[in-house]
């Protein structure tokens, strides 16, 4: 009997449910704390209010931090996805001499404590005399995020059939045509996931922003400063808003992907001769 016993099945599902709830519990507590009127979080909450959200939306400091975070995230995602596309081809598609070493090279930064890497990048930029601002944060985050995006795209590349590309080339397509008409459309889901991953990882990244942003402040940095400097209920309010923004991107992104997939499937069905 290789199958799982029904009782074990139930226990496994129960355990899975408990862990899933635990994963989201701190976020729910954060949301609850943001709605509590009092200066300090006390449960059960005696009075609820939107006050801390109103304060948050009125704060120019937070607005600036949100803008900085957004710009950094978009820049990191755009650059990552380009690097990741070519990186993934080298990682998984082409058979070349240095490939094994390249694979380890790409994995290394991911297997590295971010805080140490962030400090090292700070030291490096300081020594070569780069002024720290959100520009250097983009650079710092890329070191960690671009390899992750590469892995995400590489998973798609591993499942991709290079023979299609070779066939196109044999039929007279140029390298560029084969890339545009065959490789890119086939790898598109992976590229899109890589972009989303990079965007969201940058949005929530603290260590690199902390060490490399100079005077510029991102949302995770603002939160950290307030958590260390003294709790205010604006911390959970900003945290909740940041979670909602991330969730919206995630849900929106996957809906777009599902929508495009559905349209393409319908198109393909229509084109097929009856």
């Amino acid at each position: 009997m290789a199958d799982i016993h029904p009782l074990t099945r139930r226990l496994l599902w129960l355990f899975f449910a408990v862990v899933s709830i635990a994963l989201y519990l701190p976020m729910l507590v954060t949301a609850l704390a943001s709605l509590s009127r009092s200066r300090f979080f006390i449960f059960p909450v005696s009075r609820y209010s939107w006050k801390w959200y109103e304060d948050t939306l009125a704060s120019q400091q937070i607005e600036q931090a949100a803008i900085t975070s957004l710009i950094v995230a978009v820049m990191v995602a755009l650059i990552s996805v380009v690097l990741a596309f070519f990186g993934a081809l080298a990682f998984a598609r082409y058979d070349w001499k240095g490939r094994k070493s390249f694979q380890y090279l790409v994995l290394l930064p991911i297997f590295f404590p971010q805080a140490v890497l962030g400090l090292a990048v700070q030291l490096w930029l300081n020594t070569i005399g780069v002024e720290m601002s959100w520009h250097s944060t983009v650079f710092g985050q890329l070191v960690w995020i671009a390899p992750i995006a590469t892995l995400v795209v590489a998973i798609q590349v591993f499942g991709y059939e290079p023979a299609f590309e070779d066939a196109a080339r044999d039929l007279g397509a140029t390298r560029w045509q084969a890339m545009r008409d065959i490789t890119l459309p086939l790898l598109w889901p992976g590229i899109f996931s890589g972009f989303l991953f990079a965007l969201l990882l940058s949005w929530s990244n603290f260590p690199f922003a902390y060490y490399t942003s100079g005077a510029d402040v991102t949302i995770p940095e603002w939160l950290h400063a307030k958590m260390i400097g003294g709790y205010t209920p604006m911390v959970p309010a900003v945290g909740t808003l940041s979670i909602i923004a991330g969730a919206a991107v995630l849900v929106g992104g996957f809906s777009i992907a599902a929508f495009v997939k559905a349209i393409l499937a319908r198109k393909a069905a229509r084109q097929r001769p009856a």
Binding site: L23, A90, R99, P109, P113, L123, W203, M227
Partner: protein
């Protein structure tokens, strides 16, 4: 590699010219066109290498450069702000003499315990995802990955509000049972809990990758041949899933070793992890060489773990779909 392969044609070029001097121009130009095509072919044959260049350059400038600099700084005299000078070992001596190894010990111990707990917790979850979830596995994957996109600070602060005095747990048990739990933060176990919480997806996803490597047929065959459940687990499942298990273990160990926020927000300063020592050496201490020396030791431990594990793992086989 490409340089070397181009070398003969470069060296050979003048010789060709001499050889074809007497022949018609047409023929010579056709010959040289052939040479160009040959070179182009070599160029495109290196498509893999060329695709690796952009990311490779980024890692050179943003990973290896900084790490090399940290190593250089670690041998500079105390408090120096330049990587160029007479090398010394005094920073490493300071680490031993000034009890900096205590934070190392704590970080190592907590990372080991957290990694073991993560293996025990993530394994059944991975089994559920791979063998029970079926078509809905994608949705569950997103469900578990999504918290990764929320800043660690926010999530740990959330747990702190949950476990702290007058927090959710304390308040709820007070009003339900008349007796609160008091403050549960500010101790070592809660820091380990934080590590387990934050790094769970980093253990779970490699385990899932590993377990998808276990073909149901293999399990079936073993069972037909009379293997018990435990034998199937020990002799079929574990060995086949081992690349994923190794990667997950490595990833979690290294990341937990370099973790700092858990001790800050849940431990409330009851333990000082090594990265916090590194951070203070760089910031308050203004002693870059000391911070660098501590970083180098941390990097060496991480690198040793990475080398040991990665030599046993074939990345291509891990990612290829079956």
């Amino acid at each position: 590699m490409t340089d070397r392969s181009l070398e003969p044609t470069m060296v050979g070029a003048p010789a060709y010219q001499g050889e074809y001097q007497g022949k018609s121009r047409d023929e010579a130009s056709r010959k040289s066109a052939g040479l160009v095509a040959e070179r182009l072919k070599r160029f495109s044959g290196g498509a893999g290498m060329w695709s690796a260049v952009p990311l490779g350059l980024l890692l050179l400038a943003g990973f290896f450069g900084p790490l090399l600099l940290v190593v250089l700084y670690s041998f500079m005299p105390r408090g120096s702000f330049s990587p160029i000078g007479w090398p010394t070992l005094e920073n490493y001596r300071d680490i031993v003499e000034q009890n900096f190894y205590i934070s190392f010990g704590w970080s190592l111990a907590m990372a080991v315990v957290a990694t073991i707990l993560l293996l025990l917790i993530a394994y059944p979850l991975a089994v559920t995802m791979v063998r029970l979830a079926g078509k809905r596995a994608d949705i569950y994957t997103i469900l578990i990955a999504a918290p990764l996109f929320v800043a660690e600070n926010i999530r740990l602060q959330g747990w702190s509000l949950f476990f702290d005095k007058a927090g959710l747990l304390d308040g709820a048990s007070e009003s339900l049972f008349g007796a609160g739990t008091g403050s549960l933060v500010g101790n070592v176990p809660i820091v380990v809990f934080g590590l387990v919480y934050v790094y769970l997806p980093f253990m779970l996803f490699p385990l899932i990758l590993g377990l998808t490597n276990v073909a149901p047929d293999a399990r079936e065959a073993a069972s037909d041949l009379g293997a018990t459940r435990f034998q199937i687990f020990r002799d079929i499942e574990l060995p086949l899933a081992s690349p994923g298990i190794l990667i997950g273990t490595l990833l979690c160990f290294v990341l937990a070793l370099g973790a700092v926020s858990e001790a800050k927000f849940l431990g409330k300063g009851v333990v000082i992890p090594v990265v916090q020592d590194i951070d203070s050496a760089f910031t308050f201490g203004q002693n870059w060489p000391r911070g660098s020396a501590l970083s180098v030791l941390l990097i060496l431990i991480a690198a040793a773990a990475i080398v040991v594990v990665m030599r046993r793992v074939d990345i291509d086989r891990m990612f290829t779909r079956r």
